[in-house]
């Protein structure tokens, strides 16, 4: 039991898994970013903002489908990540809106991303670019 607690407190409190985006066609300036945010800590945290050198603007959006209409809205106040929990950014749900792309995203590449958390501070993530035909 002591060993378990010791490991838990030594591990970074925020972990990111399966960070990915779709490849884009020439001229396309927007793509969606997805990942699993894992809070191993004993206190709640919050994803406040995201930035990258290759995207002029990144917002956190939520997609809703209501009455056959697709709507996207910015998530206000960041994404809460309760203690000891996983939060999914996934297609047709909460996602990163990667805007003003400097160049097309090529399948197979990895793009650096900086996530800013309220407690954990800055966390670097590598975003895997997947072919559009592969990713839902």
């Amino acid at each position: 039991m002591f060993v378990y607690v010791g490991i838990a407190s030594a591990a970074p409190s925020i972990q990111i898994e399966n960070a990915r985006t779709r490849s884009t066609a020439p001229g396309q300036t927007v793509s969606g970013g997805y990942m699993t945010l894992i809070n191993n800590g004993l206190t709640a945290d919050r994803l406040l903002s995201v930035s990258a050198s290759w995207a002029g603007m990144i917002e956190i959006h939520h997609t809703s489908m209501d009455g056959g209409v697709m709507r996207m809205r910015e998530v206000q106040g960041g994404v809460p990540i309760p203690a000891n929990s996983r939060v999914e950014l996934k297609p047709r749900g909460m996602h990163l809106m990667l805007m003003q792309l400097a160049a097309p995203l090529e399948a197979g590449r990895s793009m650096p991303l900086l996530l800013q958390f309220e407690k954990a501070g800055a966390v670097k993530v590598s975003l895997r670019v997947e072919a559009v035909g592969q990713m839902p």
């Binding site: 066609a25 020439p26 927007v30 969606g32 489908m65 209409v69 910015e74 047709r92 990667l98 805007m99």
Partner: protein, 191 residues
């Protein structure tokens, strides 16, 4: 007893079994969009009649849509593949609701990135409202938080026309692809 069985057999033989419902909503008799002429990415004016002989699947979207549009287009690409040889009988058309930003070349590259057979149609900005209305759909610009950009709320319905370009089905964008594929197989077999 034997008499009863014979009578029942005759009754069943006389009545063809009623067709099973489609997974999507059947709208046979409705004709959204069939009168429209919309330019394709080569600038050529197209109408649904141009696609007779194919099952035509129409969807609204735009290239700056990061989530639902690529997800739906990817799934429509999977749909064609899942139909095997019959996939060639299915034509997927994306009508952009953002003709101001979606130039013809940009729209063309976008749809062909999902499947080289996909077709992009680009209404002139002044014609967009009438095109959207013809499908009883909506498309509304919504500025991003800082006001420098915009996204577009839009109908994500999938419209399906048979090989005689009669409107037959409407499906929601999140309908499981296997269900839609089963419907399209029936339309292909019926014609």
């Amino acid at each position: 007893m034997r008499g009863i069985i014979i009578v029942l057999s005759v009754i069943f033989a006389a009545c063809a079994p009623p067709p099973l419902p489609f997974n999507a909503t059947e709208v046979t008799g409705v004709s959204y969009g069939t009168q429209l002429q919309i330019p394709d990415t080569q600038g050529k004016s197209r109408s649904l009649a141009d696609f007779s002989g194919k099952i035509t699947v129409v969807f609204f979207g735009f290239t700056s849509c990061p989530d639902v549009c690529p997800s739906t287009l990817m799934r429509l690409g999977q749909l064609r593949k899942s139909l095997g040889a019959d996939g060639a009988a299915v034509r997927v058309i994306l009508v952009t609701v953002d003709p101001e930003r979606d130039t013809a070349s940009r729209l063309d590259a976008y749809v062909k990135n999902f499947d080289p057979s996909f077709i992009g149609l680009r209404p002139e900005p002044a014609a967009l409202e009438s095109v959207v209305k013809a499908f009883h759909a909506i498309a509304v610009k919504v500025p991003t938080a800082d006001g420098t950009d915009y996204t577009i709320d839009h109908s994500s319905t999938i419209y399906v026309y048979d090989q005689n370009t009669r409107m037959r089905l409407i499906a929601q964008a999140d309908m499981p692809i296997e269900q839609l594929a089963a419907d399209l197989r029936r339309l292909i077999a019926d014609s």
